[in-house]
């Protein structure tokens, strides 16, 4: 077994960081493989290579320097790296997961962008995300949440006409006896609506949704 000596290891970790900043999923994938080949611990690659990059991207976004395309491509690069590293983590993988999430757009609504954005950011930030797509039947949400023993069910609605489906979803999750908390979002949705339908939380935008998810799922 050969380990990468200090200098080379440092360069590799810096390159991982940069691949996230650049939103370069091909580079992130390649660097994750190189790390494994060089016998760098997957946890070290994640914690000291890729995650600092993601954190930096988040900071740049908050500061108004980065915008959504940079946020999303960074998240995609993070996912590319995780796809390589997660299988190797074994037992550690489930310990490291912040929570399991089922996400989708409610029945009758085909709006994709907000939901995908939230899903991508949750996944990049350490949640295990199952994106069910758009126009997802209520039963499908419930069924998947049960299968995965999900911590969170996240439902998006962009239309005032489809918003009501979020209420049906909350009721369905509750009556199925699932432990999952239900978070809602979308353009017409607000805190008052979330409270009215008995949802467990609402976030104004994708970045806030990540914070909300962290707060909602106990460690």
């Amino acid at each position: 077994m050969t380990e990468v000596p200090g200098e080379g290891r440092h360069e590799l970790l810096a390159a991982m960081n940069q691949s996230i900043l650049d939103g370069d999923d091909e580079a992130a994938d390649r660097l994750a493989r190189e790390a494994l080949a060089a016998r760098i611990e997957p946890l070290e690659a994640i914690d000291r290579g890729f995650t600092p990059g993601l954190r930096e991207v988040g900071r740049l976004f908050e500061d108004g320097e980065y915008f959504l395309p940079e946020l999303v491509t960074a998240a995609q690069a993070m996912q590319a790296a995780m796809a390589v590293l997660r299988p190797v983590l074994g037992e550690q993988a489930s310990e490291r997961t912040l929570g399991r999430v089922v996400i989708g757009t409610v029945p009758g609504d085909i709006h994709d962008i907000g939901k995908t954005l939230v899903g991508t950011l949750l996944a990049a930030n350490g949640f295990e995300v199952s994106d069910e797509g758009v126009d997802v039947p209520i039963e499908r949400f419930v069924e998947r949440a049960r299968e995965l023993d999900a911590d969170l069910v996240c439902a998006s609605a962009l239309l005032t006409t489809t918003m009501a489906m979020q209420r049906d979803l909350v009721n369905a999750v509750r009556s199925a006896g699932l432990r999952a908390r239900v978070l809602v979002g979308g353009a017409p949705v607000n805190q008052a609506w979330a409270e009215e339908i008995g949802a467990d939380g609402y976030a104004e935008n994708a970045a806030a949704a990540v914070d909300l998810a962290r707060r909602t799922v106990p460690p």
Partner: protein
């Protein structure tokens, strides 16, 4: 008949607005030449009249009649490009269709944030204007935009320049209030640039020289033209026809008068120093037939601005106009509509220097909050003028056939910054909830938050100590010369 060949498919079209055909522009220039030869201009300065007489122009009292050949010579000797440079040498290229903005200048009032009424500006306000201008990315030049009321009038012109130079890197659009005010202002510019030679090579300021309508050059303006020409400091010809009051009411004839006044100024300027840099500027206004006010934000004034710019381009000169200002009394809907239309038209017309942002109430009142908002309008105007890029031509099929997650697509990440202008925080682009959470502010209040953020950072562009000391020395000297006591000029 000639026809321009179609642009290659991959070339981005530069959107343009014109209000006159080329033959109509030529007709206006011809008529202006006729006015100068047969009606002449009044020149109130003896030395300037002597200069013109020595060159062979015919005089009758204060009136000077200019021969077409003299005017054509002046047009030919004036440079078609002006490279203005900021304090650090960053260049503003005043030529072609390049567009730059500077705050409207010489306001007698500032809009008070709390009362939303005008008040007299202090020297501190002059400093704050420089700081805010420095922070506005789409306002490329500063101006001595406020007349401080807490400083004796005799030194107010050079004091404004002193403060502008100490508090912003950007080049300055300025001017003198008095005949003997030029020398110290020139010396201040030399002090910042390092030497007279350097200042000639890289001009740091433009001086506005305003003719008096109709067809009059006052002593102050004529001397200023000659001073600028000899010092190699760019002069900006500012003809201010007021249609229906000090100029004919028809727009075309306003443009003729503007052209005649400007060309007579050009002759004086180029006689004093052939080849010296000069800008074909102006501040035409529409006379309001109910209130008797001079509106530079009236749509007709803007049409004349665009027409004058076409004439200036035809003459091969850098161009200027007063646009992006408003006659409104507060930074309200009227202010936004008039200013945005002004900067939009100016950008489409390709006017090289556009003075106006921040200005209200017939160019008499500056507002820091409006300047921050106008900066956003300028950004949109510049984006508009940059056109529809053809750089991705042919890629649509490939893009639509592939991964349709466009938000996470490398093509988006590569192109979105150039394609989509991202407005600053004073512009509401968030959701209703985000807007509400951030305080639910209207444009003015949102801009006020930005202004506070900028002012809290302090002087963004302090001068090196030795340069600052030299400016102090010049300011002290001028104050002493004018018999004004200044406790401490630096702020």
């Amino acid at each position: 008949m000639t026809s321009t060949p179609p642009a290659p498919l991959t070339e981005t079209l530069r959107p343009r607005v014109t209000v006159l055909s080329d033959p109509q522009v030529d007709g206006i220039v011809d008529q202006a030449l006729d006015v100068l030869a047969t009606v002449g201009v009044e020149v109130e300065d003896d030395a300037t009249r002597s200069l013109l007489a020595d060159a062979g122009e015919r005089l009758n009292g204060e009136r000077v009649f200019l021969r077409e050949r003299s005017v054509r010579d002046a047009i030919a000797s004036a440079p078609s490009r002006l490279l203005l440079a900021d304090r650090d040498g960053g260049e503003l290229d005043l030529s072609g269709d390049n567009v730059h903005f500077d705050p409207g200048s010489t306001a007698l009032h500032i809009l008070d944030r709390e009362t939303r009424r005008r008040r007299s500006p202090s020297a501190r306000d002059v400093v704050h204007l420089a700081w805010v201008t420095e922070a506005c990315r789409n306002i490329q030049a500063q101006s001595t935009g406020l007349v401080p009321a807490d400083v004796p009038e005799t030194v107010a012109d050079c004091y404004r320049l002193y403060l502008a130079l100490r508090h912003s890197r950007k080049p300055v659009v300025t001017g003198t209030f008095r005949g003997d005010g030029f020398a110290v202002m020139r010396d201040m510019l030399i002090a910042v640039r390092g030497s007279e030679e350097e200042l000639r090579r890289r001009p740091l300021a433009i001086f506005d020289c305003c003719s008096t309508p109709p067809l009059i050059w006052s002593e102050l303006a004529a001397r200023s033209l000659i001073d600028c020409a000899r010092a190699g400091i760019p002069a900006e010809l500012i003809s201010v026809p007021l249609g229906g009051a000090t100029a004919p009411v028809t727009l075309r004839e306003m443009v003729v008068q503007h052209c005649a006044e400007s060309l007579s100024g050009l002759v004086i300027h180029q006689l004093a120093s052939p080849g010296s840099p000069v800008v074909y500027g102006g501040a035409p206004a529409a006379f309001d037939m109910r209130h008797g006010t001079a509106s530079m934000a009236a749509v007709e004034a803007m049409m004349v601005d665009v027409a004058c710019c076409q004439v200036g381009k035809r003459l091969g000169l850098p161009t200027h106009a007063y646009m992006g200002l408003s006659d409104a009394k507060s930074a309200d809907w009227q202010a936004g509509a008039e200013s945005a239309m002004g900067v939009g038209l100016a950008a489409l017309a390709g006017i090289n220097m556009v003075s106006g942002p921040g200005m209200l109430d017939f160019a008499s009142c500056q507002s820091l909050e409006k300047l921050v908002l106008d900066n956003e309008a300028c950004a949109s105007a510049l984006r508009l003028a940059s056109g529809v890029s053809q750089a991705s031509a042919g890629l649509a099929t490939e893009l639509l056939a592939g991964d349709r997650n466009f938000l996470g697509h490398p093509h988006t990440r590569r192109n979105f910054r150039a394609e989509l202008h991202m407005p600053g925080p004073a512009i509401s682009r968030g959701s209703y909830g985000e807007w509400e959470q951030a305080g639910g502010r209207d444009a003015f209040d949102a801009a006020a938050v930005e202004v506070d953020r900028i002012l809290a950072r302090g002087n963004p562009a302090p001068l090196p100590d030795d340069t600052a000391r030299e400016l102090d020395r010049l300011m002290d000297g001028e104050a002493a010369r004018c018999g004004v006591e200044g406790p401490s000029w630096s702020l």
